[in-house]
Subunit: 289 residues, 2 copies
């Protein structure tokens, strides 16, 4: 694990290439014996061209050709880029909690909140390959018409308000409380701190709305929930999702869906990058990706 | 146009069969010369079996085998059932505003609020064929943690709260104001009535959240908006959707999408029922439906 450089895209490319070369060396594999590499990145991005459109949390990643630049830095090795959550979904369907599923949703509740949608056995990509940004599904607005629509709602990293991510992702919850780690917010809420409780309750309501919407709109057989916050706080993440679905979603799709923890833990993105690269290199990727 | 009987499913079937027979007679076509019929119904339902799971606005339509029962009442004529919004989407893609589109969303804002999602050229159906209920995408909750999550939010017909339909559909807006027609709510808001303005402003915020979510999550090239409220109040329906997308959605998918009025007006469900039945009868339906 390396820290992401904060001084621009060139440094990020250098760090990625150094890491890849070191990994290959440690494995006793010279770079020229590799056939391809996979690279997971935050979205929105175009997995076909390897172009990252906007990644607010990485300095310099605005319309940045991550795939071509990384390939160049690795002596022309083919590099297949995809959104981190798409890579995670690829791994979970290949060898994890969604093995064999055709209609399901991957959700990660971590520093950020994201996911990927698989429908009829195919990953939903949309018209310009940016579909699946479920963290930026707006689940709230200010009900008081005399105030702005986003009043009393923390601004999201994407520039909007009311996004599930802005209410329920770790970084946003920590920021709202003025600390570095969402764990402190949960701990303070457990002690009865009112400001922390407000943040936690709103996060649970946001997750419930998200879960109900996923079930009513997409009718998945499975919702796989990964990410560090989901792992550490299942009673604040998976439980409100399950309760929301049981209490509020349409009966038939509610009965058809299970909400389960992800199986692959922190390496899910790396595993998915490897599986994704293998499938796309072989040409088999098109059926799913 | 006939009123839907309120005294149970048998009466509804009789009315549907009478209407079909009268239409066939007026067209000079005896029933036994027809090859199939299409029937649009409110969802959730299973279009493969013709079973309507729950249609709160039609008395007796709970787990009701609409397709088989109507077929029986029409001397065994094959009857293809689908959700009204799916039928509308079939018509709009066949000869309407979405002609030739592969990634797009149909939205109707009318008595209720619903839609259908087309992704990669196929209608999104989900694990048990109930996907697409975008009117029941929750877009709001009570931000005040000391109150219930649904406090100050009108209960939706589906039993939940915060659904786009509960805030922005005609029947729900009229009910919230205590009148029979949403037109009265818009008129009262235009006169400066505060209670009506609250309902209209919340409806616009709900539609903006819905539109932003559709764009971020599904990345459609087109959102086709039909229904009586959308037709009569475009500045309160299409405009808030467009503004929401321009101001709040991710830049790339926002630039890739257009929000346009539906092309086919009030007959869209009937046209779609005919197209849908023809395609499914011929076996061609599977590629899209």
């Amino acid at each position: 694990v390396r820290r992401t450089p904060r001084d621009g895209a060139d440094s990020v490319i250098r760090a990625l290439a150094d890491s890849a070369r070191a990994t290959a060396r440690d494995a006793g594999l010279p770079l020229h014996e590799l056939v391809a590499a996979g690279c997971a990145a935050p979205g929105p991005l175009d997995h076909r061209t390897g172009l990252v459109h906007e990644a607010p949390n990485i300095v310099g990643f605005i319309e940045f050709p991550l795939g071509p630049r990384l390939s160049e830095a690795l002596d022309g090795l083919p590099v297949f880029v995809d959104r981190d959550t798409a890579m995670a979904a690829i791994a979970e369907v290949a060898i994890g909690a969604a093995h064999g599923q055709r209609d399901w949703v991957y959700v990660t509740v971590s520093t950020g909140l994201g996911g990927s949608i698989v429908s009829g056995g195919r990953m939903l990509r949309g018209a310009t390959n940016t579909a699946g940004e479920i963290g930026h599904w707006p689940v709230a607005f200010q009900l008081d018409p005399s105030r702005d629509a986003g009043a009393d709602l923390q601004r999201c990293g994407c520039g909007s308000f009311g996004c599930a991510e802005s209410l329920a992702a770790g970084r946003n919850m920590a920021d709202a409380y003025g600390v570095n780690d969402a764990a402190e917010v949960y701990a303070a809420a457990a002690r009865g701190d009112e400001r922390a409780s407000t943040i936690v309750i709103r996060a649970e309501r946001a997750l419930a709305n998200l879960a109900v919407g996923l079930v009513n709109v997409l009718n998945p057989a499975l919702i796989v929930v990964g990410g560090s916050i989901a792992e550490r706080q299942p009673s604040h993440v998976l439980e409100p999702m399950r309760r929301g679905i049981a209490d509020r979603a349409f009966r038939v799709p509610a009965a058809a869906v299970r909400v389960v923890p992800a199986a692959l833990g922190g390496d899910v993105g790396m595993l998915g990058a490897a599986f994704g690269a293998r499938e796309r290199l072989s040409g088999r990727g098109e059926w799913f990706l």
